[in-house]
C-alpha cells in the first residue's frame, strides 16, 4: 500500500520517462500537423468525424453551458444585490466574460471529456486489438489515417460548439435574470462592452483548445498496452491530461491577453 520513497535513481528514471514522453508528444503533434496539411485522406472520413465530434456533442454542450449560464447570472446578481443593487450592467459584463473566458473554456472542458475520452477509447481499443499494427502492415500511417481527421474535426468544431454553447448560456442567463431579478431582456443582452480584443481571445482560445485536445488524447490512445485494463487507463489519462492542458492554456492565454491586447479592458 505504501509507495517506496523516491530514490535518486527512481527520480532520474522518472525524469527520463518524462523527457521521452515529451519527445513522443511533440513528434505526434508534428506528424498530425503534417498530415493535416496534406489533402490526401480517406474519403468521407472527415465528414464522419465532423458529425461525430460536432452534432453528437451539440446537445451535451448546450445543456451544460446553459446550466452554467444560469448559475453564473444567479450568483452575480445575488452578490450585486447585496452591494449596490444596480443590475443594469450585469448583462453587458456577463456577455463579455462569457465570450472571452467561460464560453470557450467550459466548452473545451466538456469536449475534453466527451471527445478526448472518445478518441483515446477508440484508438486504444484499436491498439490492443492490433488493428493499428495491421494498418502499419498495409503501409498506412496510423496517425495520418486515424488521428488527422479527428484533429481537423475537433479544431473546427470547438469553435462552432463554443458559439452554440455561448448562445445557450446567454439565453438561459437572460431568462434567469428576467425571472428572478426582473432585468429585462433588452437591458441584459447588451453587446456594447464586447470589444475586438474579446473576440480575439475567444478565437485564440478555441483554436488552442481544439488543437491540444485531440493530440493529447491521441497520444494517450496510441500509448495503450495490455487489454481492457489498458484501454481504461488510456481513457482516464486522456480525460485528465486534456482537461489539465485546457486549464493551463486558459491561464496562459488569459495572462497574455491581460498583459497585451486586453490591457485596456
Amino acid at each position: 500500500m505504501t509507495e517506496p520513497a523516491p530514490t535518486p535513481s527512481a527520480l532520474a528514471a522518472a525524469l527520463r520517462l518524462g523527457r521521452q514522453g515529451a519527445a513522443q508528444l511533440l513528434n505526434l503533434g508534428l506528424l498530425t500537423a503534417r498530415g493535416a496539411l496534406r489533402t490526401r485522406r480517406p474519403p468521407g472520413e472527415l465528414w464522419r468525424q465532423l458529425f461525430e465530434v460536432g452534432n453528437r456533442s451539440l446537445l451535451f454542450v448546450m445543456v451544460t453551458l446553459g446550466f452554467i449560464g444560469m448559475v453564473l447570472v444567479f450568483q452575480t446578481c445575488l452578490q450585486i444585490n447585496r452591494v449596490t443593487g444596480d443590475l443594469s450592467q450585469v448583462g453587458a459584463e456577463f456577455v463579455k466574460i462569457l465570450v472571452h473566458e467561460f464560453g470557450p473554456t467550459l466548452t473545451a472542458l466538456m469536449l475534453a471529456t466527451r471527445v478526448g475520452a472518445g478518441i483515446a477509447a477508440e484508438v486504444g481499443s484499436m491498439v490492443v486489438t492490433e488493428q493499428v499494427d495491421a494498418l502499419r502492415m498495409c503501409g498506412v500511417e496510423p496517425v495520418e489515417y486515424l488521428l488527422v481527421p479527428r484533429f481537423l474535426a475537433t479544431l473546427l468544431m470547438t469553435t462552432v460548439l463554443s458559439i452554440f454553447g455561448i448562445t445557450a448560456a446567454l439565453l438561459l442567463g437572460a431568462l434567469t435574470a428576467y425571472q428572478t431579478f426582473h432585468v429585462s431582456f433588452g437591458v441584459f443582452l447588451d453587446f456594447s462592452k464586447l470589444h475586438a480584443g474579446d473576440i480575439l481571445t475567444f478565437a485564440v482560445k478555441c483554436l488552442a483548445y481544439g488543437a491540444a485536445t485531440p493530440i493529447v488524447s491521441g497520444f494517450c490512445g496510441f500509448r495503450t498496452h495490455g487489454g481492457s485494463e489498458g484501454v481504461g487507463w488510456a481513457t482516464t489519462s486522456a480525460v485528465v491530461s486534456s482537461s489539465f492542458v485546457v486549464i493551463v492554456l486558459d491561464f496562459l492565454i488569459s495572462a497574455l491577453a491581460l498583459l497585451t491586447w486586453q490591457a485596456g479592458g
Binding site: 500500500m1 452578490q79 481504461g232 489539465f244 486558459d250
Partner: protein, 259 residues
C-alpha cells in the same frame, strides 16, 4: 410517413436508453443506501480506496487549484483595473473560487482522474468475470465494491476541496501581486472581510454532492460494461460525460437551494 416513423422510433429509443441509465443509477443509490443502513461495509476496502482516490489525486488537484486561482485573479483583474478597485480583488476571486469555480473545476478533474479510473477498474472486473466470481463466493458486490467507493469519493472530494480552496486563494494572492501589483495584505484583508464562512460551506456541500454523483455514475457505467476492451473504453467515456452533466445540473439546483 415511413421516414417520420423511423425518426419517432429513434427518438423513443434514445429516451428509453436514457431512462434505463437514470433508473439503473437510482437503483444503485437505493442498494448503496440499504447496505449503509444495515451497516454492511468493507472497512479495509474503504481505506484502500481513500488512499487510491484521495491521496493519489492530490498533485493534479493542487495544480488545477493553483491555475484556477490564477485564472480567477486575471478575470477579476480585467474589471478591477477598469474601475481602479484593487480592494475588491480578494473578495471577487475568493467568492468565485469558493462558491462556483473551485467545486466545478476540481469536480471535473476528480471525475476525470478518479471517476474514469473507477469505471475502468469496475469495467475490467466485469469483463474478466471477477464480479461474477465474487457472487459465486457468496460475496455481495454492492457492500464489498460499491459502498466503499461511494463513501471514499465523497470523503476524498471534501478533503481535496478544502486543500484546493486554500491553494487557489494562495495562488490568487501570488498571481495578483505578480500580474496586477496587489499587495498580499490588501488582497487578504479584502478576502477576509467579505467572504463568509457560509460561502466556503456552500462550496464544500456542493463538492461532497459532486463526489457522490461521480461515484454513482462511474460505478453504474463500470458495472454495466458489455464486450471486452472496446466496451470498457466506451463505458469510461459514458461515465465521464454523465458525471459532467450531473455536476452541471446539480450545481444549478444546489445554487438555488443554498443561497
Amino acid at each position: 410517413m415511413k421516414r417520420g416513423l423511423r425518426l419517432l422510433a429513434a427518438l423513443g429509443g434514445w429516451v428509453l436508453d436514457r431512462c434505463h441509465e437514470v433508473g439503473g443509477m437510482t437503483l444503485l443509490c437505493a442498494y448503496v443506501g440499504w447496505s449503509l443502513l444495515r451497516g454492511r461495509l468493507d472497512g479495509r476496502e474503504l481505506v484502500r480506496n481513500l488512499y487510491k482516490m484521495g491521496v493519489v489525486s492530490v498533485p493534479i488537484v493542487a495544480l488545477t487549484a493553483l491555475f484556477t486561482g490564477g485564472i480567477m485573479v486575471i478575470q477579476s483583474g480585467i474589471f478591477v483595473r477598469r474601475f481602479q478597485a484593487y480592494g475588491l480583488l480578494g473578495w471577487g476571486s475568493g467568492f468565485a473560487v469558493f462558491r462556483e469555480v473551485g467545486p466545478i473545476l476540481i469536480g471535473l478533474m476528480f471525475s476525470g482522474r478518479v471517476g474514469a479510473n473507477n469505471a475502468a477498474e469496475l469495467g475490467t472486473m466485469v469483463v474478466t468475470e471477477q464480479v461474477d466470481g465474487l457472487r459465486a463466493l457468496a460475496i455481495d458486490p454492492i457492500p464489498f465494491l460499491i459502498v466503499p467507493r461511494v463513501l471514499a469519493m465523497m470523503l476524498a472530494m471534501f478533503c481535496l476541496l478544502v486543500l484546493g480552496d486554500v491553494i487557489a486563494i494562495g495562488g490568487g494572492m501570488v498571481f495578483g501581486r505578480a500580474l496586477l501589483g496587489v499587495e498580499f495584505a490588501s488582497f487578504f484583508a479584502s478576502f477576509a472581510d467579505n467572504v463568509k464562512l457560509w460561502d466556503l460551506m456552500v462550496g464544500l456541500i456542493k463538492g461532497v454532492f459532486f463526489g457522490f454523483a461521480i461515484a454513482v455514475t462511474s460505478c453504474h457505467f463500470g458495472l454495466s460494461v458489455r464486450g471486452g476492451a472496446v466496451g470498457v473504453g466506451r463505458a469510461v467515456n459514458d461515465a465521464v460525460v454523465a458525471a459532467a452533466l450531473t455536476i452541471m445540473i446539480s450545481d444549478d439546483i444546489l445554487t438555488l437551494v443554498l443561497r
